[in-house]
C-alpha cells in the first residue's frame, strides 16, 4: 500500500490528490445545499469512492465514451465536466449540464461524451455495449467505459451485456464499484457468489479485482484493461473494492451497517491514505494540502454562486427536448 509508483512526481501526486479533493469538497457542499433545500430529489454521494473516478479518468481519452450511474458526480468532475454547469444541474437550472432536466442522477455532457447518469440499476450497461459497437463499426480505437455498482451484477442486463460484449469482442470497460452495499442490502445477502470479478470467467472476459481506495492501483488496472480493449481483444471487467462512507442517499438512516465498520473504512479513505503516502515519500507537505483544499473551496464557492444566480428554464419550454430539435 505504501509503494508509490516509481516515476511518481510531486506534480502528479498533487494533481491526483487535488482531483479527489475537488470531488470531496463539491459533494460535502452538496450535502449542505440539500439540507438547505437548494438541491432536491435524490442525492447520492460518492464519499470514499473518489480514487476510482479519478484513477479511471487518467486513462480515458477524449474520444472514449463514459456511461455512469446515479452516483456520478465524481465521474463527471474527473471526466472534465466543469463544476459550474454540474452544480447548476443539481439546482435544476437551465445552464446545468443537462439543461436542468436531469438533476443529480442524470448528468449528461456531449462535449466529454458523458452519457449519463443512469438511475436504473444495470440500465447503462447495454448502452455501453452499443457505444462500443458503434466505435468498432466506425473503425476507431475508442472504447466505452461503463460504471456500475455491485448491486447491478444481480440484474440480467449485467449478464446479457457481458455476454454480448465478449461475443462481439467489443471495447467495453465494465467498471464495477463494489462498495459492499446495494442501497441497504449487503453483498452477501444478495449474491451467491460474492467474488464479483469471478463472474467474468463464465463469459470468457478478462477480469481483475482492484483496490478501489488506491488511485494508483486503479489507474494501472484501467491502463492495462484499456490497452486490451483497444487492441480488439474484447471487454474487461474490473471490480474496484471500495466503500461508501456516507449514506446511500439523503434519506438513509444506515440501520444496516455498524458504525465501527464505517470508521474502519474511513481510515482507509482514498484521500487520507494518498495524503499520508505522499507526505511519507516527501512529495508533499501540509501546506500543499491546505492549498489544494482552498483551491477546491474557491471552485465550489464559485459554482454555488453560479448555480444560485442561474436562470430557471421558462415553463413555456416544458415540452422541449422530448423529441429532437432538428436544425438542418
Amino acid at each position: 500500500m505504501n509503494d508509490l509508483p516509481d516515476a511518481l512526481t510531486r506534480e502528479r501526486g498533487l494533481h491526483l490528490l487535488g482531483e479527489m479533493l475537488r470531488i470531496r469538497q463539491f459533494e460535502d457542499r452538496c450535502a449542505e445545499l440539500y439540507g438547505a433545500g437548494h438541491i432536491r430529489g435524490f442525492l447520492h454521494l460518492c464519499d470514499g469512492e473518489e480514487a476510482i473516478a479519478v484513477g479511471v479518468m487518467q486513462v480515458l481519452g477524449s474520444g472514449d465514451a463514459v456511461v455512469s450511474t446515479y452516483r456520478e458526480h465524481g465521474h463527471a468532475l474527473a471526466r472534465g465536466i466543469a463544476m459550474n454547469p454540474l452544480m447548476a444541474e443539481l439546482y435544476g437550472k437551465r445552464s446545468g449540464c443537462s439543461g436542468g432536466r436531469g438533476g443529480s442522477m442524470h448528468v449528461f455532457d456531449a462535449a466529454t461524451r458523458f452519457y449519463g447518469g443512469n438511475a436504473i440499476v444495470g440500465g447503462g450497461l447495454p448502452l455501453a455495449v452499443g457505444l462500443a459497437l458503434a466505435e468498432k463499426l466506425q473503425g476507431t480505437r475508442n472504447l466505452a467505459a461503463c460504471f456500475f455498482g455491485e448491486g447491478a451484477v444481480a440484474e440480467g442486463e449485467f449478464h446479457e451485456s457481458m455476454n454480448l460484449a465478449a461475443l462481439w469482442k467489443l471495447p467495453v470497460l465494465f467498471m464495477c464499484e463494489n462498495n459492499l452495499y446495494a442501497m441497504g442490502t449487503a453483498l452477501a445477502r444478495s449474491e451467491s457468489q460474492t467474488d464479483i470479478q469471478a463472474k467474468a470467467a463464465a463469459y470468457g472476459v478478462r477480469a481483475a479485482a482492484v483496490d478501489g481506495m488506491d488511485v494508483f492501483a486503479v489507474e494501472a488496472a484501467v491502463r492495462s484493461a484499456a490497452d486490451h480493449a483497444r487492441a480488439g481483444r474484447g471487454p474487461v471487467l474490473l471490480e474496484f473494492r471500495t466503500y461508501r462512507l456516507r449514506a446511500h442517499s439523503m434519506f438513509d438512516a444506515q440501520l444496516y451497517r455498524d458504525k465501527a465498520e464505517v470508521e474502519e473504512w474511513r481510515a482507509r479513505g482514498p484521500l487520507i491514505t494518498l495524503t499520508t503516502r505522499l507526505k511519507a515519500a516527501s512529495l508533499m507537505i501540509e501546506d500543499d494540502f491546505q492549498r489544494l483544499q482552498h483551491a477546491a473551496d474557491d471552485e465550489v464557492r464559485a459554482a454555488v454562486e453560479f448555480a444560485g444566480n442561474a436562470e430557471w428554464e421558462p415553463v413555456e419550454d416544458l415540452a422541449r427536448h422530448v423529441y429532437a430539435e432538428v436544425t438542418s
Binding site: 465514451a65 456511461v67 446545468g96 449540464c97 443537462s98 439543461g99 436542468g100 432536466r101 436531469g102 442524470h106 449528461f108 455532457d109 456531449a110 452519457y115 449519463g116 447518469g117 443512469n118 436504473i120 440500465g123 450497461l125 447495454p126 448502452l127 455501453a128 455495449v129 452499443g130 457505444l131 462500443a132 459497437l133 458503434a134 466505435e135 463499426l137 466506425q138 466505452a144 440480467g156 442486463e157 446479457e160 451485456s161 455476454n163 454480448l164 461475443l167 462481439w168 422541449r320 427536448h321 422530448v322 423529441y323 429532437a324 430539435e325 432538428v326
Partner: protein
C-alpha cells in the same frame, strides 16, 4: 396506377431494409435470428449473404442487451435497425425502450437524441396463442419521446423505414404478423411516407372507421359488406399511433358524422379509448351518434382458431357496430 409491382408485405419490408443498407453505411440490422435463419418471419432472408456479418447481426436471446446496444450504437453515431421477434418479447426490453430510448434526449437537455429504429411483429391471426399474439401498441404509444408507426399497406411497409431512419428520434415500427403474406401492388412513387400522418384508405359519406394495422383490412371487408346495404364507410388508416393525426380523423368525422374505432388492442385503456376521447374533446358537436368501438375481447389470445377469431375485431363485429349507429332514430 401506371407503374406498379406486385409483392408481399414481407418483401416490401425486406426491400426497405435493403435500400437502407445500400443508402447509408451507418445502417445495420440486428436481432434474434435475423441472419443465418433469415428472420423469424423470413423478412431478412438472404440479407446476411448479401451484406455480411457486420451489418446483419444475429444476437443472443438478450432483448434488453441488444435493444440497449441499439440505443447505444445510435448514440454513438450509427443508424441501427433492431428487430424484436414479437411485441410480447419486447417486454423484456421495456426498460431500455421506456427508460432510455424515450428519455435520453429530454434528460440530456437535447444533447443526446436517439435515432434508433425498433421493428417488431404484432398481433394475432396465426394461432400462436397468448405469448406471441398480443397487440400492445397502446403501451408504447403512451410514452412521450417515442414515435410509433404501424404500416398496414404494401406501400407503407416499403416506405416507412426510410422515414424512420431519417428521424432523429426513436421509432417503433409495428409489423402485423398476419400481413406478412399479404400481397398487393407497390406504387413506384410510394417511397415518401410521413411518420405522423394518417391517410384516407377509402372514401365514404356515411360513417368513419378509424383503424390501423391488420384491422385496416377487417374494416375494408366490413365496408364492402356495408356498401352492399347502402352504407358508405370512410376508412382512416392511422399509420402513426404516436403522434395521432387528430386533424385527419376529425375532418373525416365532419363529413360522416359517425365514427367507429376498430382496434386490435384490448378495450380497457386502449388507443380506441384515447381516440374516442380526442373526438369528444374536439368534435363532439359533429357527432350524430355515440362513438362506437370494436376492440379485441379482454382475454389472452386463445389458440383454437374459432376462439382466436371470436376474440378479434372481425368484420362482422364491425358491421354490427356500424349498423347499430343507424338503427333507432339517430
Amino acid at each position: 396506377m401506371s407503374d406498379t409491382v406486385r409483392m408481399t408485405y414481407r418483401e416490401a419490408v425486406k426491400q426497405s431494409i435493403r435500400e437502407a443498407l445500400d443508402d447509408d453505411p451507418r445502417v445495420f440490422l440486428m436481432g434474434e435470428d435475423v441472419g443465418k435463419y433469415g428472420g423469424c418471419f423470413a423478412v431478412s432472408k438472404g440479407l446476411l449473404e448479401e451484406y455480411g456479418e457486420e451489418r446483419i447481426r444475429d444476437t443472443p436471446l438478450s432483448e434488453s442487451a441488444f435493444v440497449g446496444a441499439g440505443i447505444g450504437a445510435a448514440l454513438g453515431g450509427m443508424r441501427p435497425i433492431v428487430e424484436i421477434m414479437t411485441v410480447n418479447f419486447s417486454l423484456l426490453a421495456l426498460d431500455q425502450i421506456v427508460n432510455n430510448a424515450a428519455t435520453l434526449c429530454h434528460m440530456s437537455g437535447g444533447q443526446f437524441p436517439v435515432p434508433v429504429v425498433i421493428r417488431m411483429a404484432t398481433g394475432a391471426g396465426r394461432q400462436l396463442a397468448a405469448q406471441h399474439s398480443h397487440s400492445l401498441e397502446a403501451w408504447y404509444a403512451h410514452v412521450p419521446g417515442l414515435r410509433v408507426v404501424e404500416p398496414a399497406t404494401i406501400d407503407d411497409a416499403r416506405g416507412v423505414l426510410r422515414a424512420a431512419l431519417a428521424c432523429p428520434d426513436p421509432v417503433i415500427v409495428f409489423e402485423p404478423i398476419s400481413l406478412y403474406n399479404m400481397d398487393g401492388e407497390l406504387t413506384a412513387a410510394a417511397s415518401e411516407v410521413r411518420l405522423d400522418g394518417a391517410r384516407i384508405h377509402r372514401a365514404g359519406r356515411d360513417v368513419t372507421l378509424v383503424s390501423y394495422g391488420a384491422s385496416l383490412w377487417r374494416c375494408v371487408a366490413a365496408a364492402e359488406e356495408l356498401a352492399a346495404g347502402g352504407i358508405e364507410a370512410e376508412i382512416v388508416d392511422l399509420r402513426s399511433l404516436r403522434p395521432l393525426d387528430d386533424a385527419t380523423i376529425l375532418a373525416s368525422l365532419r363529413r360522416t358524422k359517425r365514427v367507429v374505432i376498430v382496434d386490435e388492442g384490448w378495450r380497457t385503456g386502449s388507443l380506441a379509448a384515447e381516440i374516442a376521447m380526442r373526438i369528444v374533446e374536439q368534435g363532439f358537436y359533429d357527432l350524430d351518434a355515440p362513438i362506437a368501438r370494436v376492440c379485441t375481447e379482454e382475454v389472452p389470445i386463445p389458440y383454437p382458431k374459432h376462439l382466436e377469431e371470436a376474440a378479434l375485431p372481425e368484420p362482422k363485429r364491425i358491421v354490427a357496430a356500424v349498423r347499430g349507429l343507424f338503427s333507432d332514430a339517430q
